[in-house]
Point group: C2
Chain length 175, copies 2
């Protein structure tokens, strides 16, 4: 969900820039977390932002995610899985956000967990190595500022590319 | 979670009996849902009860579940998985309930989903055929009033029996 169909990093940067003029350091994010891109003295504050009621409810949808997933939903059994349990207040917000922006999904297609180790499927699209590494199906890394240097996975850089993988005539004719 | 480590049916029956003197019909539950055991004219009301804030937060813990799962947690990687998404208000309550009664679990061990089809693991203990039927590991049916006539699964009738399966010296010496 986050960094794949929803944009918490974008929201955090926008919020930060409206309050402070510290620099975002994209290099530091490459350690695996976009929080590290904020000046060290402000990282705790950005983390607190994630616990603020309404934060996850109001996130921007990633470009083309709605159109491509709406089409994919016709040919695949899709589950939206979010490692959301660290932020218990986000649970209902993530449910409401998905139902608003992706009304073609049902509540049966959402899973909010603490660890994606227990998720099985044929494909997983995720922005974190820790989630892809235990997956038994085919993993795809969804490109995000914090994972640009990861080289172990086939990439999906944006949802148009996802359509190119999952929605070509060749692929869907067999489904 | 429900009917396995938490007792919503018990809470619903207690609530119902405090208000009405209709009979609980255990026979009708055998169609697969304990809601069907309430008089037909009151079933909608019982369903509404499940949407009431606080309902899931205040459920009784199933007997011996805490002691046995605390011990199992030393030898197994345990996930508590609940098909809770039908009741979005229950999400935070289920998180808080688990953290209160089972403090040895971390938030990483909880998953709240709409459909258990996407869950993998070595063992699943569940009270519903619809959850066990797609599971690739070994399924166990946790006995509940609504599943007494199901014959397709090995049963766990209570948490002491679970200890007899998962915590014998023979089994845990290899873990």
């Amino acid at each position: 969900m986050d960094e794949v169909i929803a944009d918490p990093m974008g929201a955090a940067i926008q919020w930060y820039r409206s309050k402070y003029d510290g620099e975002i350091n994209w290099q530091r994010m490459l350690a695996g977390s976009w929080i590290l891109g904020f000046p060290e003295e402000h990282q705790k504050m950005v983390l607190d932002l994630l616990y603020t009621p309404g934060f996850f409810r109001n996130l921007r949808v990633m470009e083309d995610a709605v159109d491509v997933l709406k089409e994919m939903n016709k040919y695949y059994e899709i589950f939206i899985v979010s490692a959301a349990m660290e932020f218990p207040n986000s649970l209902i917000e993530k449910h409401d956000w998905l139902m608003e922006h992706f009304p073609f999904f049902t509540w049966k297609q959402l899973a909010l967990c603490g660890d994606k180790k227990l998720i099985c499927g044929d494909f997983m699209i995720d922005d974190h190595v820790k989630n892809l590494i235990n997956f038994k199906g085919k993993p795809y890394m969804y490109t995000s500022a914090h994972n640009l240097e990861v080289t172990d996975y086939e990439r999906i850089n944006n949802w148009k590319e996802a359509a190119g993988i999952f929605l070509t005539d060749d692929v869907i004719k067999d489904r």
